[in-house]
C-alpha cells in the first residue's frame, strides 16, 4: 500500500473498509501503543509510517466491521506548525474520519481536554480513552468518569494501553459513536458564543466543516483557517474575510487581547472547569528531582556518560555473546545440513560453491554479524526510549545542538538515526524550518545506524578490542560536531527556538519494548536476508569464476593505493550501498571461503589498522540506497546527491588519513 498524501484520504487507498477511526491526542500519551495493541490483536494489513506524511494506518476488525485505524502524530491543537502537525490536521479536517478516539493522559487532564474540546467544536464524533489510568492511580489522581462523560457529552473509557486494558471497549464505543446523534454539551463565554452563533449560521452547509468548528478555526487563525474557505469564490471570500476581521476586532476589544488568544483562553478555562469537576483527588507529582538530576550539567553529564557507557557495554557483551553463540551453532548444525544437499544436487563444482557462498557463508554472516548487534541495540534503545530519558537529555544537550543550528527537537530524529537513518529522515518533518531539516538531514547520514554499529562491533570491537570501537565512535562524533558547526556557519539563518514538553520518567514495560524491538528487527530479517543472499552469491560467482580480479581493478587505486585495504574489501564497500552491514557480512563470507569458518579469520585477511579503517570508511560514506532515496524526497534530489558525494569524499579522505596515522603507532 502506498503512503497517504495531503490530498488523499484513508478511504481512497484501496482497502475497502466500513469505517475510518482516527486516534488523536497530545504527544506521548500512548497513541502508538494503543494503535499497536489494537492492530496487533486482529490486524489484517499494516502500513508503516508513510513517506509523504507521518500518518500510519492499519485495518482491524471489530464486532464484524472492518475499520481503518489512523494513528495521527501527537498534537496539542490544530494550529499547524510543522509538517507532521499539518498531516494530523489534514487527516482530521480534509478527510474527516467517521469517529475519533481522543487519547488522554489521565495525569494531565485539563491540558489534554483542550484538544478534545477543539475536536468536539469541529463536530467530530469523539470517544475519550482516558489512558495512563494506572500512572494516574499511582500518583493518587482519581477521576470521576461518569462526571467527565456528562460534562463532555461523550463516552469516556479508562484505559491502560501498555496492558491493553479498555482498548477494545474504546474502539467499540467509537463504532457506536458513528451512529449516535451529535450533541454539543459545552459552551464558552457569552461574548464568544454570540459571535460564533452569528457567523456559524451563515456558514453552515457552505463549508465542508460544521459552521461552529469552521468559525472557531478561522478566529484562531494560522494555517488551519485557509482550509475552511478553500472552496469559496473570490467575492464571497472577500466578504467573509471582512466579516471575520470585524468579529475578531469586536472580540479583541471585549477581551483586551487578540481573538486567537481569547478563544484559547476560553477553551482552557472550560477545560479547567470540566477537569476540576471530574477530578476527585488531584494527587501529587513527585518526579521533579529526576528532571533536575538529568538536566543539570553537574549531574546530567555524568548520567549521560554512564548511559552511553551502558549502551556500549550492553552491545559489546550482549551482542558479542549472541554473535559467538549463533556462530558456533551454525558451524555445528546448520552448515552441515545445508552443505550436504547442495553438494549432492550440484556436485562439487563451481555452481555448488557459488550457491554455498550465499546459503552457507552468507546466511551465517547475516545471523552472526548483523542480527546479534542490531537486535541488542534496538532492545537497549527501546528501554531507553521507554524511560523518557531522551526527552530530558535533549534539554541538557540543547546548547550543543544550538551550536550546530538545531533546536532540541532535532535530537529525536538524530537519536532515531542511531537505529536506522530512514525513519530518522522521515522524522525530519517534525522540524520547523527548512534550514533545520537540511542540517539535521545531513548530520543523520553521519550517525552510525544499527547496521553500521553491527559492522563497528563485529569487525572492530569483537576482533581488535573495545577501546578501538570507542575511538571510532569518538572520531565519528567529532566529524558530526564539526559538520554541524560548519553547516550552521555556512547556511544563513539561526537555530529554531526550543519549545518542548518535558515528560515524567516512566518504568519501561517489557511488552512495549519487546514489541518495538521486534517491529524494528523484523525489517532486518525479511529485507536483509534476501539482499545478503543475493550479494554473497554474486560475490561468490565473481570469486569462483575469477572475474573478481577484473571487478576490483577499477577500485584498486583508491582502495589499495590510498586506503591501504585489499581491493576486494573495496568491492564489499560498494556492495554495502545496498545495506551497510552487508560490507562486513560479505567480508566474513569471503574469509570463511578463503580461510575457513569463524569471523576471527578476518584477521588473516586484514590487519588491525585495515579493519579499523574499513569500519570507519563504511560508517562515514553514503548511508545506503534506502537512506539516499528518502533523503532525496525530504531535501530534494540535488541536495541528496551533494550530501551523498560529500560523505564519500569525507570517508575516503579520513580513511586514508587514519590508516597512515595508525601505521605510525
Amino acid at each position: 500500500m502506498k503512503a497517504l498524501t495531503c490530498h488523499e484520504g484513508p478511504r481512497r487507498r484501496g482497502a475497502r473498509t466500513d469505517l475510518v477511526v482516527a486516534l488523536a491526542g497530545n504527544p506521548n500519551v500512548g497513541k502508538s501503543t494503543v494503535f499497536n495493541r489494537l492492530t496487533g490483536l486482529e490486524v489484517l494489513t499494516t502500513n508503516h509510517p508513510g513517506t509523504t506524511i507521518d500518518v500510519t494506518t492499519a485495518v482491524a476488525r471489530v464486532a464484524g466491521r472492518t475499520i481503518t485505524l489512523v494513528d495521527l502524530p501527537g498534537i496539542y491543537c490544530l494550529t499547524c506548525a510543522s509538517e507532521d502537525q499539518c498531516a494530523a490536521r489534514a487527516a482530521l479536517l480534509e478527510h474527516p474520519p467517521d469517529a475519533v478516539v481522543a487519547i488522554l493522559d489521565a495525569t494531565n487532564l485539563a491540558r489534554n481536554l483542550y484538544l478534545v474540546l477543539q475536536l468536539l467544536d469541529l463536530g467530530l464524533p469523539v470517544v475519550v480513552a482516558l489512558n495512563l489510568a494506572d500512572a494516574a492511580e499511582r500518583a493518587g489522581i482519581r477521576i470521576d468518569v461518569p462526571q467527565l462523560e456528562e460534562r463532555l457529552g461523550v463516552p469516556v473509557i479508562p484505559t491502560v494501553a501498555t496492558r491493553g486494558e479498555g482498548l477494545g471497549a474504546a474502539l467499540a464505543a467509537a463504532v457506536r459513536a458513528v451512529e449516535r446523534p451529535r450533541v454539543r454539551g459545552h459552551r464558552y463565554g457569552p461574548a464568544l458564543e454570540d459571535e460564533i452563533t452569528q457567523l456559524a449560521a451563515r456558514l453552515d452547509g457552505q463549508s465542508p466543516l460544521p459552521g461552529r468548528g469552521a468559525v472557531l478555526l478561522m478566529l484562531e487563525g494560522g494555517a488551519a483557517a485557509e482550509t475552511v474557505l478553500a472552496g469559496f469564490d473570490a467575492a464571497a471570500l472577500e466578504v467573509w474575510r471582512e466579516d471575520l476581521r470585524a468579529a475578531a476586532e469586536r472580540l479583541a476589544q471585549r477581551y483586551g487581547e487578540p481573538a486567537a488568544l481569547a478563544v484559547a483562553r476560553e477553551r482552557h478555562a472550560l477545560a479547567d472547569r470540566i477537569a476540576k469537576k471530574a477530578t476527585l483527588s488531584r494527587g501529587e507529582f513527585t518526579g521533579r528531582w529526576a528532571w533536575r538530576l538529568a538536566t543539570r550539567p553537574a549531574t546530567g553529564i555524568p548520567l549521560l556518560l554512564v548511559t552511553l557507557a551502558a549502551l556500549f557495554a550492553g552491545l559489546f557483551w550482549g551482542g558479542g555473546l549472541l554473535a559467538r553463540g549463533v556462530d558456533a551453532t551454525w558451524a555445528r548444525y546448520a552448515s552441515p545440513l545445508i552443505r550436504a544437499p547442495v553438494l549432492y544436487l550440484f556436485g562439487p563444482g563451481g555452481l555448488a560453491r557459488t550457491l554455498l557462498w550465499g546459503l552457507d557463508a552468507g546466511l551465517n554472516a547475516v545471523l552472526s554479524v548483523g542480527i546479534p548487534y542490531v537486535l541488542t541495540f534496538y532492545l537497549l534503545l527501546g528501554v531507553l526510549e521507554d524511560t523518557g530519558y531522551l526527552n530530558a537529555a535533549t534539554v541538557l544537550l540543547d546548547r550543543v545542538l544550538r551550536g550546530m543550528g538545531l533546536s532540541g527537537r532535532a535530537a529525536v530524529p538524530l537519536v532515531a538515526g542511531a537505529g536506522c537513518n530512514v525513519p530518522a529522515i522521515i522524522g525530519l518533518r517534525a522540524l520547523r524550518t527548512e534550514r533545520e531539516r537540511l542540517i539535521a538531514g545531513t548530520l543523520i547520514t553521519l550517525v552510525p545506524c544499527s547496521a553500521r554499529t553491527a559492522v563497528i562491533f563485529g569487525a572492530v570491537a569483537y576482533l581488535i578490542g573495545w577501546p578501538w570501537a570507542l575511538l571510532l565512535y569518538a572520531i565519528v562524533t567529532v566529524v558530526i560536531l564539526a559538520a554541524g558547526w560548519g553547516l550552521n556557519r555556512v547556511i544563513p539563518g539561526s537555530a529554531a527556538d526550543l519549545l518542548m514538553e518535558i515528560f515524567p520518567f516512566r518504568v519501561p514495560t517489557p511488552r512495549t519494548v519487546l514489541r518495538k524491538t521486534w517491529v524494528r528487527v523484523r525489517e532486518f530479517v525479511f529485507v536483509a536476508v534476501p539482499i545478503v543472499l543475493a550479494g554473497s552469491v554474486i560475490l561468490g560467482g565473481l570469486y569462483e569464476t575469477g572475474l573478481i580480479q577484473a571487478a576490483v581493478r577499477p577500485l584498486a587505486p583508491v582502495v589499495e593505493g590510498w586506503l591501504g585495504l585489499p581491493a576486494v574489501a573495496g568491492l564489499t564497500l560498494v556492495f554495502a550501498f545496498l545495506r551497510k552491514e552487508l560490507a562486513l557480512q560479505l567480508l566474513v563470507a569471503l574469509a570463511v571461503v578463503q580461510f575457513g569458518r569463524g569471523a576471527e579469520n578476518l584477521l588473516s585477511f586484514m590487519n588491525r589498522d585495515q579493519l579499523f579503517t574499513y569500519a570507519l570508511v563504511n560508517t562515514l560514506y553514503v548511508p545506503c540506497i534506502a537512506t539516499a532515496a528518502v533523503l532525496a524526497r525530504a531535501l530534494g534530489r540535488r541536495r541528496a546527491v551533494l550530501i551523498s558525494l560529500g560523505t564519500v569524499a569525507l570517508a575516503v579522505f579520513l580513511g586514508g588519513l587514519t590508516i597512515r596515522l595508525l601505521r605510525l603507532f
Partner: protein, 84 residues
C-alpha cells in the same frame, strides 16, 4: 513592587505571572496558547540550564522546556506583584 521582567531573567524556583507573549507569529502564538503559556497564567521556573541553556517552566498545563531566546520574548511579573 517587583518590576515587569522577562521569563528568561527568572531564577530557578521563581514564580511569576505572564503578562505578554509574542503574537506576531500566529503559529507560535497558537502553540503557546495550547500549552497555557498565556497572559495571566502563573508559571514556576523549575530549572535553568546554565551556559545559555533552556528553562524548564511549569504551567497549569504541564512542564515545558523553552529556549532562553523564546523565554526572553515572554513578559512576566514576578509573583507577589500580580497577586496582591
Amino acid at each position: 513592587m517587583p518590576e515587569p521582567s522577562s521569563l528568561a531573567l527568572m531564577p530557578a524556583g521563581a514564580r511569576a505571572t505572564i503578562t505578554a507573549v509574542p503574537v506576531e507569529d500566529a503559529t507560535l502564538a497558537g502553540e503557546l496558547a495550547a500549552l497555557r503559556l498565556l497572559p495571566g497564567e502563573r508559571v514556576e521556573v523549575v530549572e535553568v540550564i546554565p551556559f545559555g541553556g533552556p528553562l524548564l517552566v511549569q504551567t497549569a498545563g504541564g512542564v515545558y522546556a523553552l529556549s532562553r531566546r523564546l523565554a526572553g520574548r515572554i513578559a512576566v511579573v514576578p509573583a507577589g506583584a500580580a497577586e496582591e
